[in-house]
C-alpha cells in the first residue's frame, strides 16, 4: 500500500525533544486524533554501566529506517510519523531512540509505533558497545533472539 504520510527520519548524535517532535505532527492540523510516542533510553541495570557507544552505518541507517517507516505508513493510516535514532556515546538516563506516530484513531498510532520499534531493533544498522565503570573494559551487546521473535509478530 502507498504510504499514508511522508515519514520524517533522522539519525543524529544530538538529543531530541519529545514535545517539539509531537508539535511537529499536530501543529496546524485538525485531523489528528491520536499521537503515540516511544522513547528508548540508555539504562544501567546493575550500576556498572559508564556509557553506551552506538556505532551505525551512515547512509544505510537512514535508508533502512526510511524503508521500515514507509512500510508502517503503508500498513496503517497515519497522519504523521517521526523516527529519530541517536549514535555516539550515550550515558544512562539519556535518550537513544524516538518514535512518534500520529493518526486519526489510536489503534493505528499504537500499532505503528510498536511495529517500528520491533523492526528497528533487528533491522536498523546500529550496534551498542557497553563501557563499564572504572574503565575496566568494553563489550559489544549481543542481539537477542527475543527481538527477532518480536519482529515475527508482524508477519502476515
Amino acid at each position: 500500500m502507498a504510504p499514508t504520510c511522508e515519514p520524517l527520519v533522522r539519525v543524529q548524535a544530538d538529543d531530541f525533544d519529545l514535545a517539539t517532535e509531537t508539535r511537529r505532527l499536530t501543529a496546524g492540523r485538525r485531523d489528528v486524533g491520536a499521537v503515540v510516542s516511544f522513547t528508548g533510553l540508555c539504562r544501567d541495570e546493575n550500576g556498572m554501566l559508564e556509557a553506551l557507544e552506538l556505532e551505525h552505518y551512515p547512509g544505510m541507517a537512514e535508508a533502512e529506517i526510511a524503508r521500515i517507516s514507509s512500510e508502517a505508513a503503508g500498513r496503517w493510516p497515519l497522519t504523521g510519523l517521526t523516527v529519530i535514532h541517536r549514535f555516539g556515546k550515550i550515558v544512562p538516563g539519556d535518550n537513544i531512540v524516538l518514535v512518534v506516530a500520529a493518526s486519526s484513531h489510536r489503534r493505528a498510532a499504537f500499532e505503528a509505533a510498536d511495529f517500528l520499534m520491533d523492526f528497528l531493533k533487528s533491522r536498523a544498522p546500529f550496534w551498542k558497545k557497553e563501557h563499564v565503570r572504572g574503565g575496566t573494559g568494553a563489550g559489544w551487546v549481543e542481539a537477542k533472539d527475543a527481538d527477532l521473535d518480536d519482529m515475527k509478530r508482524w508477519e502476515r
Binding site: 552506538l54 547512509g59 537513544i96 528497528l120 531493533k121 544498522p125 546500529f126 550496534w127 551498542k128
Partner: protein, 83 residues
C-alpha cells in the same frame, strides 16, 4: 569491490573498509565470506561464526545466497542491536 565492516567484525578484521579485487569464482555473498576467511587469521576470527554475519549490498539487507553486484559496496556486520 568496496567492503565495509562494522562493530566487532570491523574490530577483528582491523579495518573499517577496503577495496578488493574478487576472483572470478566469487559470485555470491557466501562465496565472498569463504574467500575472505582465507585471507588471514583476523578475517578468520571475524567470520568464525559465518552463519550469524549479516550482509548488506549497496546499503540493503541481503541473504548469504544473494549474488554479488558487478560493483558497489558490500557491508559485513554482526546482528544489529539498535533501538
Amino acid at each position: 569491490m568496496k567492503l565495509v565492516y562494522f562493530a566487532w567484525v570491523r574490530e577483528r578484521i582491523g579495518l573499517p573498509d577496503e577495496t578488493v579485487d574478487l576472483p572470478a569464482d566469487v559470485n555470491t555473498v557466501a562465496d565472498l565470506l569463504n574467500w575472505l576467511k582465507g585471507r588471514g587469521e583476523n578475517y578468520g576470527a571475524a567470520l568464525e561464526r559465518q552463519d550469524i554475519i549479516r550482509v548488506a549490498i549497496n546499503q540493503e539487507h541481503a541473504d548469504h545466497s544473494a549474488p554479488l553486484p558487478a560493483n558497489g559496496e558490500i557491508a559485513l556486520f554482526p546482528p544489529m542491536t539498535g533501538g
